[in-house]
């Protein structure tokens, strides 16, 4: 009978046991290192031009990689609720230098930069700079003018500039008709519920990204809440005129015939009157936390 190779038996034993040991050890090392090291974000090369020169002929691919870094960086910070997004601009700068035609990086990049923390970096000035760079490289793309108007309207509250951006964009090929209407409306009225809702609705309907869609939906819901509360306060003023005191509960307005039923927010939670007598979100409504968060950073 042929004798068995003893080394083969040892190997059969050593391989699973050895790798099981390595697996456990690596977990231990990972835990040790995690407790030792702090999170380190860094962009080693900050010059877009230098990165472009070094990329040989692969600048478009590198731009895609840098854009993915932007998304990952923003996403990680967003998930952790961290407001410090200081590397967002250098990463976007390199991305757009590597590929000036990567339209998505201007559009979403401006959104990440312009919105107040924690939703964004709170740097609308840099967002404007980024979009203007995008317009220079892609002058016929009307959506960039829409984004510029958006930043001026919502974040910088510069309605004249917002109107100019919408008007300029309306002259570009394939621009939608509402751009011209929006230019006139913003110039005449400044900020209004209809305009704000329209702009967020357009973002909601045109974006392919679920997280941006979710953000736009949240803004639409909060806009609706703001408008509802304004209307309810007007009705409460009417109630006060009739009965000489402000209502403490919504049911009092229903009983007075000012409301058909107790109104709810976009998530279905009934509005309440706060201690100051003003209409506000129900304490149980998930929108309340989002509203407070946005107001805190405004």
């Amino acid at each position: 009978m042929k004798s068995q190779n003893p080394i083969a038996w040892v190997l059969l034993l050593v391989l699973p046991l050895g790798f099981a040991g390595v697996w456990r050890l690596q977990h231990g090392i990972d835990a040790q290192r995690a407790s030792l090291s702090q999170e380190r974000d860094d962009v080693l090369l900050r010059s877009g031009k230098l990165v472009k020169v070094m990329s040989l002929e692969y600048a478009p691919l590198l731009a895609d990689i840098y854009w993915t870094r932007v998304v990952q960086y923003y996403g990680n910070k967003h998930v952790r609720g961290q407001a410090n997004l200081e590397l967002l601009w250098p990463l976007l700068d390199i991305t757009t230098t590597l590929d000036p035609n990567l339209l998505i990086s201007y559009r979403f990049g401006a959104m990440f930069l312009s919105q107040a923390a924690p939703a964004g970096a709170g740097r609308p000035d840099l967002a404007v700079q980024l979009i203007q760079r995008g317009i220079q490289a892609n002058p016929d793309y009307w959506r960039l003018y829409e984004d510029l108007g958006f930043v001026y309207y919502f974040d910088l509250k510069n309605y004249q500039k917002a109107s100019e951006a919408f008007l300029e964009g309306s002259k570009r090929p394939n621009a939608q008709l509402w751009m011209k209407i929006m230019a006139a409306k913003v110039a005449a009225e400044g900020e209004s519920f209809e305009t704000s809702a329209f702009l967020w609705k357009d973002i909601y309907e045109s974006t392919p990204d679920p997280s941006v869609k979710k953000n736009a939906l949240l803004h639409l819901q909060l806009l609706k809440v703001k408008e509802d509360c304004r209307q309810l306060d007007l009705l409460a003023d009417e109630y006060a005129k009739r009965f000489g005191k402000r209502p403490a509960r919504m049911s009092e307005m229903v009983q007075a015939g000012l409301l058909r039923g107790i109104p709810g927010d976009p998530l279905g939670f009934a509005y309440i009157f706060g201690e100051d007598g003003k209409a506000e979100l129900n304490l149980d409504s998930p929108l309340l936390e989002q509203q407070l968060l946005l107001e805190r950073f405004k």
Partner: protein, 258 residues
């Protein structure tokens, strides 16, 4: 010419036997991984990244094959001493070189075409359809093939008069320089002497301009490449390859093979 064709066909067969086309498996895996992963980790660049990554992979894989195999075309035959048996037959040295060049270009063409097909399939998977503007991807692939043909010619030239290692270094060096020819042309002439300015200008036209073939960004964004540029680049490659191959034939015909 028929004899050169026979050499070319055998060079192609040899490359296939050497499992050069195995890189296609790597390419396929890379593209499949990219198609699945990109949508998960980034926003709005699925198509762009598929095209950029696909074209970059085609370019890098092609570059590796053209440089390493291009340099080995002559040196391997000499090392194995099969060249002597071949040249003892009625095959002229220039025919041998031309056949080797054509054989490797044929290998690259088959390889590149297969990768281009893979790229288009991944694009269909991501976009669910192909549009007319996607034809620019094929133009970009064609330009990569032209670039590779030029690199093979250069590798062949260098391998005719120096060692394989130096030939690789010269070819890669000239390729990198060729990517920055435009920069050479844009040097500030005000700070240079007239003679130096004239020299750099002439040099920028003498060196192979590999940036001519770079339409990757246009392909990634579906922008059309003018027909005139396709024609000009084709002619540029034909003329430049003719110059380089003639120089290689001249060097090789004088080389002492003893």
């Amino acid at each position: 010419m028929r004899r050169a064709g026979v050499v070319a066909l055998n060079t192609f067969r040899e490359a296939v036997r050497d499992r050069v086309l195995y890189n296609l498996v790597f390419f396929a895996l890379l593209m499949m991984a990219a198609a699945i992963a990109v949508g998960q980790i980034s926003i709005g660049i699925e198509q762009t990244v598929i095209v950029s990554l696909g074209l970059s992979a085609i370019s890098v894989i092609g570059l590796l094959i053209s440089v390493f195999l291009g340099v080995a075309l002559v040196s391997k035959e000499m090392d194995k001493r099969t060249l002597y048996a071949l040249l003892a037959k009625p095959v002229r040295r220039w025919e041998f070189l031309l056949g080797k060049f054509a054989g490797l270009v044929l290998t690259l063409a088959v390889n590149t075409a297969a990768m281009a097909l893979g790229l288009l399939l991944v694009l269909i998977y991501v976009k669910h359809s192909l549009e007319r503007s996607d034809a620019v991807v094929l133009v970009a692939v064609y330009f990569i093939l032209l670039k590779l043909a030029l690199i093979v010619a250069l590798a062949l030239l260098f391998s005719c008069f120096t060692t394989p290692l130096l030939a690789i270094l010269f070819t890669v060096g000239l390729y990198i320089v060729g990517l920055y020819v435009q920069e050479l042309r844009n040097l500030p002439v005000e700070v240079m002497s007239p003679a130096m300015a004239a020299f750099t200008k002439w040099l920028s036209y003498l060196l192979p301009n590999f940036e001519n073939f770079n339409v990757m960004a246009m392909a990634a964004h579906g922008r059309a490449v003018p027909g005139a540029l396709i024609l000009q680049n084709t002619l540029y490659t034909v003329v430049y390859c003719t110059i380089v191959l003639t120089a290689a034939a001249a060097v090789f015909s004088r080389r002492n093979l003893k």
